[in-house]
C-alpha cells in the first residue's frame, strides 16, 4: 500500500467490521446462551426452550453465518481500498 492515509482508513474499516462481528458473536453465546438464557426459556420455539436452543444449537448456526458474512464484507473492503490479492 502506497498511501499512508489509505492504510489508516483500511484498518479503521476492518476494525469497524470486526467490532460488529464480535458484538453479534458475544450476544448470541454469552447473551442469549448464558446471561439471558433463563429469561428466554420462557419462550418455546417448537419443543425447544429458546435460551436452551441458543446454547445448544442457535449460537453455532449464527457463528457459521457470521464467518461467511465477515468473509464477504472483508473481501469488499479489500477491493474498495485496493489491497486485495491478485
Amino acid at each position: 500500500m502506497s498511501d499512508q492515509h489509505d492504510s489508516h482508513a483500511y484498518w479503521r474499516a476492518t476494525m469497524g467490521l470486526l467490532t460488529k462481528v464480535l458484538i453479534i458473536w458475544a450476544l448470541v453465546s454469552y447473551g442469549a446462551g448464558i446471561l439471558f438464557a433463563d429469561m428466554l426459556n420462557a419462550v418455546m420455539v417448537g419443543g425447544y426452550p429458546l435460551g436452551f436452543w441458543f446454547a445448544q444449537q442457535g449460537a453455532i448456526y449464527v457463528f457459521i453465518a457470521l464467518i461467511f458474512w465477515y468473509r464477504k464484507k472483508m473481501n469488499e473492503i479489500d477491493r474498495k481500498f485496493d489491497v486485495h490479492e491478485e
Binding site: M1, S7, Y10, W11, T14, L18, V21, L22, W25, S29, Y30, G33, I34, L35, A37, D38, N41, M44, V45, G46, G47, Y48, P49, F52, W53, A55, Q56, Q57, A59, I60, Y61, F63, I64, L66, I67, F68, Y70, R71, M74, N75, D78, V83, H84, E85, E86
Partner: protein, 603 residues
C-alpha cells in the same frame, strides 16, 4: 455377518484408504512437509481442520458429558465452536499473510527475539504433548473394545498407521488422510443419530428431533425428559447447571480463546493458497464441525432418555410407578448391551437393597420430598454407575441398530483419535525441526537436511506419544483442560497483540506470555498437584477450591489471558518501542495483497 468380522472389515477398509492416500501424497520438499505446499483447496482444508480439531474427546466423550450435565454442557458446544469466529476474523488471515511455517516463527519474527520464539515453542510443546496423551489412550480404548486386542496392541497399531502417513507425507499426507477421516467420523456419528431420532420422535434430523414431540404423543422430547429426570431426583435437564453462571461464562470464554490459540489448528490455515482462502476455509471448517456439534446435543438428550426408560420402562406414562416394587427392571433381565459393557468395567451395578432390581436415581437429590419417597420405597442408594464415554459408543447397541452401524462407530472413533494425533504430531515435529533445530541450533542446515530432520522429529514424536499412551501418567485425565489453559493464556494473547498492536515490543510480549502461563499453571497446580503429582496440591494455600470467584481450574485460561494482556501492556509502556521495520512488518501483515507461497526462511 458376525459383528466382529464386520468390525474388522470396516476398520480394515478405512485403514487401507489412509495408507493408500499416504503413498499418493508423499512430501518431497520442506514446503510440502510443513504446509502441504500451501495449495490446499479451502473446502478440503475446512474438512481436514474439522478432523484435526475433533478428537476422541469430541467424538466419544462430549455427548456423554452433555447427557449428564444437561444445559450446563452447552459450554462445550459454544466454547469449541465460537473459537472459530475468533480464528477466522482475528488470527487465520493475518497469520496466512505472514506466510511462515509455524506459530513460534511468527512470534519470534514479530517480536524480533529468539527467546520469544523459544518461549512459544515451550508453550506449544506442553500444550500439544498433554493433548496427545488423551488421543493415544483413546486409540487404545477404541481398539481394545472393538477389535478384541489388548490396549497395548491397539496403541502399537495406531502408532504404525500414523507413522506411515505422517512421517512420509508430512502435512501433505496428513491433510488428505484427515479429509478421509472426516468423512468416516461424521458418517459414523450421524447415521446412528438419525436412527435414534427417528425411533424417538419420527423426525430423521437429530437437530429437529431434539425440538420435536415424542413419537405418538403431543409432548415435546425435552419437556418429557425434564419430567423424567426430575422424577428421579435429578435437576431439570434444560436448565441444570453445575457451578455458577459466572463459571460457565468464563469456562466458555477459555475454551473459545484456547481453541483459537491451539497451534495444531492454526497451522492448518498455512496450507491454503491465499488470505481470502484462509477466511473462507475457517467458515467451512466450522460448517463441518457444526454437523457433529449440533447433532451431539440430540444424541445426548436421546441417549439419556433411552437410558432412563430402559431402567424404568413405565416412567413416562406413569411417573409414580417407579416407586412400586416392580418399577424398575430386574437385573437378570437387563438388555444385552449392558452385559457387554459390564465386561469393560465402564458400567457397573451393585444391588444395595438386595431386591435384584436396578435403582438408578440421584441419591444426593436436594428435593427432600423425593428423598423421602425413595427411602419409603426401600431404595438404599443409586445402584448403577455408567461411564460417560459409553453414551456414544453404545448408542447403536442401545437402539438395536444393525451390526454395520456398530462397526462404523468403531471406525469413526479411531478416525477421530488418529486424525487429531497426526495434527498434534505435525505441530510438535515442526516446532522441533523448524523452530529449534533450524532457528536456534543449525541455521545453515540445507533444505534436504531440514526435511530429514523434520521426518526424524516426527518419528521420535510418534514414539514419545506411543510411550505416553502405553504408560499414561497419573494426570492423563486433567491434561486436555491444561492444553486449553496454556493455549488461551500464553499463545492466543501473544499472537493477537502481534497483529493488532503495532507498538507491542518484545519485553511486553515475553513478560505477558510468561506471567499468563505461570498464573494459569499456579491455579491449576493448586487444585491438581504440581505437575499433577498426587499429594502436592496446595489448594488451602489459595483459600480453598475455586477460591477465585468460584472459577474452576479448567475455566481459568481466560483469567490467565487477561493477566497476559495486562502485564504485556504495562511492560510495553515502560520499555523501548519496537524498531521501525517491525512496525512496517505489522502494517504489511494487515493487508492481503502480496501474500505469496508460505516459506520457512527466518527473516
Amino acid at each position: 455377518m458376525e459383528l466382529q468380522t464386520t468390525i474388522y472389515l470396516v476398520v480394515g477398509l478405512t485403514f487401507a484408504s489412509y495408507i493408500g492416500i499416504a503413498i499418493w501424497a508423499r512430501a518431497g520438499s520442506t514446503s510440502e512437509f510443513y504446509v502441504a505446499g500451501s495449495n490446499v483447496n479451502p473446502v478440503m482444508n475446512g474438512m481436514a481442520t474439522a478432523a484435526d480439531w475433533m478428537s476422541a474427546a469430541s467424538f466419544i466423550s462430549m455427548a456423554g458429558l452433555i447427557a449428564y450435565m444437561g444445559y450446563g454442557g452447552s459450554l462445550f458446544l459454544m466454547g469449541w465452536t465460537g473459537g472459530y469466529v475468533l480464528l477466522a476474523c482475528l488470527l487465520a488471515p493475518y497469520l496466512r499473510k505472514f506466510g511462515k511455517f509455524t506459530v513460534p516463527q511468527f512470534i519470534g519474527d514479530r517480536f524480533y527475539s529468539k527467546s520469544a520464539s523459544t518461549i512459544a515453542v515451550v508453550c506449544l510443546l506442553i500444550a500439544s504433548i498433554t493433548y496427545i496423551i488423551g488421543q493415544m489412550t483413546g486409540v487404545g480404548v477404541a481398539f481394545s473394545r472393538f477389535l478384541g486386542v489388548s490396549n497395548d496392541t491397539g496403541i502399537y497399531i495406531g502408532m504404525g498407521i500414523v507413522f506411515a502417513y505422517a512421517v512420509f507425507g508430512g502435512m501433505k499426507g496428513i491433510t488428505y488422510t484427515q479429509v478421509a477421516q472426516y468423512i468416516v467420523l461424521i458418517t459414523a456419528y450421524i447415521v446412528p443419530a438419525i436412527f435414534i431420532s427417528l425411533q424417538l420422535t419420527g423426525n430423521p434430523m437429530p437437530q429437529l428431533g431434539l425440538g420435536a414431540d415424542m413419537a405418538d404423543t403431543s409432548k415435546s422430547l425435552l419437556v418429557t425428559l425434564n419430567q423424567v429426570v426430575q422424577d428421579l431426583g435429578f435437576n431439570e435437564y434444560t436448565t441444570s447447571l453445575p457451578g455458577s453462571k459466572l463459571n460457565m461464562f468464563v469456562y466458555t470464554l477459555s475454551l473459545m480463546i484456547g481453541t483459537a490459540g491451539l497451534p495444531h489448528v492454526i497451522m492448518r490455515f498455512f496450507t491454503v493458497k491465499s488470505v481470502a482462502d484462509a477466511r473462507s476455509s475457517a467458515g467451512w471448517a466450522l460448517v463441518f464441525i457444526a454437523l457433529l456439534y449440533t447433532t451431539a446435543p440430540a444424541v445426548a438428550a436421546m441417549a439419556r432418555m433411552n437410558l432412563h426408560t430402559t431402567i424404568n420402562p413405565t416412567i413416562i406414562t406413569e411417573p409414580n410407578s417407579i416407586f412400586n416394587a416392580d418399577g424398575s427392571i430386574v437385573y437378570q433381565d437387563r438388555p444385552d448391551w449392558m452385559k457387554r459393557w459390564e465386561v469393560t468395567g465402564l458400567l457397573t451395578w451393585q444391588d444395595k437393597n438386595d431386591d435384584g432390581r436396578i435403582q438408578y436415581y440421584n441419591d444426593k437429590s436436594s428435593d427432600p420430598a423425593f428423598m423421602q419417597r425413595a427411602e419409603g420405597a426401600g431404595w438404599k442408594g443409586n445402584e448403577l454407575s455408567v461411564n460417560r464415554d459409553i453414551i456414544v459408543m453404545a448408542n447403536p447397541e442401545i437402539a438395536l441398530l444393525p451390526n454395520w452401524v456398530i462397526a462404523l462407530v468403531a471406525a469413526g472413533g479411531l478416525a477421530a483419535a488418529l486424525s487429531t494425533a497426526a495434527g498434534l504430531l505435525m505441530a510438535i515435529s515442526s516446532a522441533i525441526s523448524h523452530d529449534l533445530v533450524k532457528n536456534v541450533f543449525a541455521p545453515n542446515i540445507s533444505e534436504k537436511g531440514e526435511l530429514l530432520t523434520g521426518k526424524i522429529a516426527m518419528a521420535l514424536s510418534i514414539v514419545l506419544a506411543g510411550y505416553l499412551g502405553l504408560n499414561p501418567p497419573g494426570f492423563a485425565a486433567g491434561t486436555v483442560a491444561l492444553a486449553f489453559g496454556i493455549a488461551a493464556s500464553s499463545l492466543f494473547p501473544a499472537i493477537m497483540m502481534g497483529i493488532f498492536s503495532k507498538k507491542m515490543n518484545k519485553s511486553g510480549a515475553m513478560a505477558g506470555m510468561v506471567s499468563g502461563l505461570s498464573v494459569t499453571l499456579f491455579y491449576v497446580f493448586a487444585h491438581k498437584g504440581i505437575f499433577f503429582i498426587q499429594g502436592t496440591s496446595y489448594v488451602d494455600l489459595i483459600g480453598g477450591p475455586n477460591s477465585f470467584f468460584g472459577i474452576t481450574p479448567e475455566a481459568f485460561g481466560a483469567i490467565g489471558a487477561g493477566v497476559n494482556f495486562i502485564v504485556a501492556f504495562a511492560v510495553d509502556k515502560v520499555t523501548k518501542a519496537p524498531p521501525e521495520h517491525i512496525q512496517q512488518m505489522v502494517e504489511n501483515v494487515r493487508i492481503p495483497r502480496g501474500s505469496g507461497a508460505v516459506t520457512g526462511s527466518h527473516a
